[in-house]
């Protein structure tokens, strides 16, 4: 279902591609598809409406920057607006501090507590955990087992029913440690006595950070719950858990909008190492179902830097075997070609299916074959006659058919590039990437 959505978003973007004048109807349509994508990712409906309004106004009002088309223009605005929302400063400092965990039942606080302990431990800090969950049976067993695995001291007492008392003793007990994480029992905003308890815990611990743990699958309730938690203990960061499922985590977006904080960490797996620092780009790409823009841009830059594609020659219409060689190499470093194309938000660029068929093993073969060619042949493949083909095949340990296949593939690439150049598109990874990275 989400595939369909992202497809419809891509379709809408496709309509905008190549346009140099802003088309009101097309922008409206895109905004509508964007709304659907965000709502299906569980972003709060009111927030979606506000966002899309801002995006629509900006898209129509702002001057089209020179050299960009409408699609890029709108996409950039979408991206900026979303980044603005999630990207609050959430510096995680490695200094003595106390972290108070808060969240709904079953959102993954205890697991995340252990993961955080591991994270800070790996950064070289002396970490301790206090189990202030006095309600759920087995809670202490759970956290102490997890802590034992990573050699982190865990303070708790399954017999004691007073969370405040445990925490007070725990703080005293672990006062030599640099970083203390207080795990609390799950609660929701309507349970007033529990909200009262966490306010007291906050006062008692003088917590440096109060992090709200949000299940990636949490729906529209996220806003309301986050708001109430924020009122109670002034949440200053959100952790999304269970991102290894299919949930998109839109609830967390609602939550950061409500608490005016940022997303600190993402939990995405069952082992204790499965905790990552938040990366807005990946998150937004997932929300929109559009592939990881930033990661792709970075990988592309890295790959191209090493290779040096002769862009200028290619732009002049000269595309030789040599160019293909370097280009395939560069692309190969970024992963399977089709996947890369899927990651790029470029609806307009339809490459023939054959282009994707070059697998990495084939690329190695191609490279070996090309290594057997003379410089003259590389520059002008037309030179390759049947006797030269025989020689190349023998030199590369390949069959003449493979050489023929390589030449066929080269011709297809050449044709594709010619076509794209004619159509105003620029098949040029470097410039393409530059534009994408310019969007952030």
């Amino acid at each position: 279902m989400l595939d369909n959505l992202s497809t419809s978003l891509k379709d809408a973007l496709k309509k905008l591609a190549g346009k140099t004048v802003i088309d009101r109807a097309a922008v409206d349509e895109l905004v509508k598809d964007l709304q659907r994508a965000l709502i299906s990712s569980d972003v709060n409906v009111k927030l979606v409406m506000e966002l899309s309004k801002a995006i629509r106004t900006r898209s129509l009002d702002e001057q089209l920057p020179k050299g960009t088309n409408v699609r890029e223009h709108v996409l950039r605005i979408v991206y900026q607006e979303l980044v603005r929302l999630v990207w609050a400063s959430t510096d995680v400092k490695l200094e003595p501090q106390t972290i108070l965990m808060a969240g709904l039942q079953g959102s993954g606080k205890t697991t995340t507590t252990a993961k955080l302990a591991r994270y800070f431990q790996k950064k070289g800090m002396k970490v301790g955990v206090i189990c202030a969950d006095t309600f759920r049976p087995g809670a202490y067993d759970q956290i102490s087992t997890l802590c034992a695995k990573i050699n982190v001291p865990c303070f708790g007492n399954p017999q004691e029913k007073d969370a405040l008392k445990i925490t007070r003793e725990g703080l005293e007990h672990q006062k030599d440690l640099e970083l203390i994480i207080v795990d609390t029992q799950g609660r929701h905003a309507l349970e007033e006595d529990l909200i009262g308890e966490i306010i007291q815990l906050n006062t008692l611990t003088k917590a440096t950070h109060r992090w709200l743990v949000i299940d990636a699958a949490l729906g529209q309730q996220a806003s309301e719950q986050a708001r109430r938690f924020h009122e109670a203990i002034d949440i200053d960061g959100v952790i999304i858990t269970k991102m290894d499922g299919t949930a998109k985590g839109g609830g967390a977006l609602s939550a950061v909008a409500e608490t005016k904080s940022g997303i600190v960490f993402i939990g995405s797996g069952e082992t204790i190492e499965d905790l990552e620092r938040f990366d807005p780009d990946g998150f937004i790409s997932r929300l929109l179902g559009m592939g990881d823009l930033k990661a792709l841009a970075e990988r592309a830059e890295e790959a191209i830097k090493a290779e040096n594609v002769d862009v200028n020659a290619m732009m002049k219409g000269k595309f030789t075997l040599r160019d293909m060689y370097t280009q395939l190499e560069a692309l190969n470093k970024m992963g399977p070609l089709k996947q890369i194309m899927g990651m790029l938000p470029m609806g307009s660029m339809q490459l023939p299916d054959g282009v994707y068929d070059v697998t990495s093993t084939k690329m190695v073969r191609y490279r070996i074959i090309m290594d057997s060619m003379t410089p003259a042949e590389l520059d002008d493949p037309a030179l390759i006659s049947s006797s030269r083909m025989q020689r190349i095949a023998r030199g590369a340990g390949a069959t003449p058919d493979e050489v023929r296949e390589l030449l066929k593939y080269f011709k297809m690439m050449q044709r594709t590039l010619k076509g794209l150049r004619g159509g105003g598109g620029k098949f040029n990874m470097q410039r393409l990437m530059k534009r994408f990275s310019g969007m952030q």
């Binding site: 569980d42 087995g138 905003a189 729906g219 719950q225 290894d244 069952e270």
Partner: protein
């Protein structure tokens, strides 16, 4: 938990009612004029309004049957508002669309007697749409009563939805209804899970079969079933570890548990606060191991009950219980007719 949804629906209802009333008022005027100039009703107008009810149709029903026809255009705005309200109540997007489509087909082209209340018409359409989606409830005690003992029930779901707590609650519920129960502690993965269900079982006074952490869950549950057979116990409740539908190894493990246990009932547990993902995972669990009934937990979190509607619509399985709090008694048998009646019935 349906309080929020109820308010929304009421607002939508009024809204729909108003827009149909508006149509009625508008339609009556021109028709009165044509009544005077009856013979020369222009034919072009008839064509213009097809394939929707033609002008003549409208005219005929108004004059002969004294009825009005509701057209799609009249209600489209109100319906899109209703859709937004469903979305705000966590009803997943495709499901909201299905409900709206249902209401639309039920209202559009409908003949309405001039005297008939618009409210009744809208209420009827919404009610039937919701009932259609929610289906029938599931009476667990009735099921246990009419089936061979031991009745084997397997609980599945993703992490943190409240399976273990639900197993304890249903154990307490069945015990209160006079059945004997044994629990199989099938969550051998999560640290502390065995202790958790052990404490629950002890508190409510139910026998529990447990192995060590890391043991094969199929074996634990098999033992629980064997215990039930040899001790003539009425119901076996099998807890399992939470797992994501995307982890094929864990889903295979669940499939193995099902093969070994041969459950009579597979209960899928999810939380009432889940958003759109609820339908993705419910469908996947249903596909891999099946589901016969659904329990929605955390229904006390001021949620609007959208997940209930989403899941019921997606896998077409009845909702059995709602978990409404942290105590063992905080579990409500789910009765869709009653819920819909509650939502729509009291308009005062």
């Amino acid at each position: 938990m349906f309080g929020g949804l109820k308010e929304k629906l009421k607002a939508a209802r009024n809204r729909l009612g108003a827009s149909i009333e508006g149509v009625a008022a508008k339609q009556e005027l021109p028709v009165r004029e044509t009544r005077i100039a009856e013979p020369d009703t222009p034919k072009a107008q008839q064509k213009a309004s097809s394939p929707a009810p033609t002008f003549v149709d409208k005219f005929k029903v108004l004059i002969i049957d004294r009825e009005l026809i509701v057209s799609e255009k009249d209600i489209s705005e109100a319906l899109s508002e209703l859709e937004l309200m469903l979305l705000e109540s966590d009803v997943a997007l495709p499901v909201s669309e299905a409900i709206i489509a249902h209401v639309r087909t039920n209202l559009v082209g409908k003949h309405r007697k001039i005297g008939e209340s618009v409210d009744a018409l809208v209420v009827g359409a919404l009610k039937s749409a919701l009932l259609d989606v929610l289906g029938k409830g599931f009476d667990l005690t009735e099921y246990v009563r009419t089936h061979d003992r031991p009745v084997k029930i397997l609980f599945t779901g993703v992490n943190g939805t409240g399976k273990t707590t639900t197993v304890a609650k249903i154990g307490a519920f069945l015990k209160k209804n006079g059945y004997t129960v044994v629990i199989g502690a099938g969550d051998t993965y999560r640290a502390g899970a065995i202790e958790q269900i052990g404490v629950h079982a002890e508190r409510i006074g139910i026998k529990i079969i447990q192995h060590q952490e890391g043991a094969d869950p199929s074996a634990v549950i098999f033992d629980a079933v064997q215990y039930a057979v040899s001790h003539k116990i009425d119901v076996v409740l099998a807890d399992t570890a939470g797992r994501f539908h995307t982890k094929s190894n864990l889903m295979n493990q669940l499939e193995k548990i099902r093969r070994v246990m041969k459950p009579d009932l597979i209960v899928y547990v999810d939380e009432a606060v889940a958003g759109n993902d609820a339908i993705v995972r419910a469908a996947e669990f249903d596909r891999v191991v099946g589901a016969d009934a659904v329990v929605l937990t955390k229904a006390d979190m001021d949620s609007r009950g959208g997940a209930a509607i989403s899941i019921a619509h997606t896998i077409g399985k009845p909702l059995m219980f709602l978990g409404t709090g942290q105590g063992y008694d905080d579990i409500l048998p789910f009765d869709p007719a009653q819920v819909v009646e509650d939502l729509m019935g009291s308009d005062t």
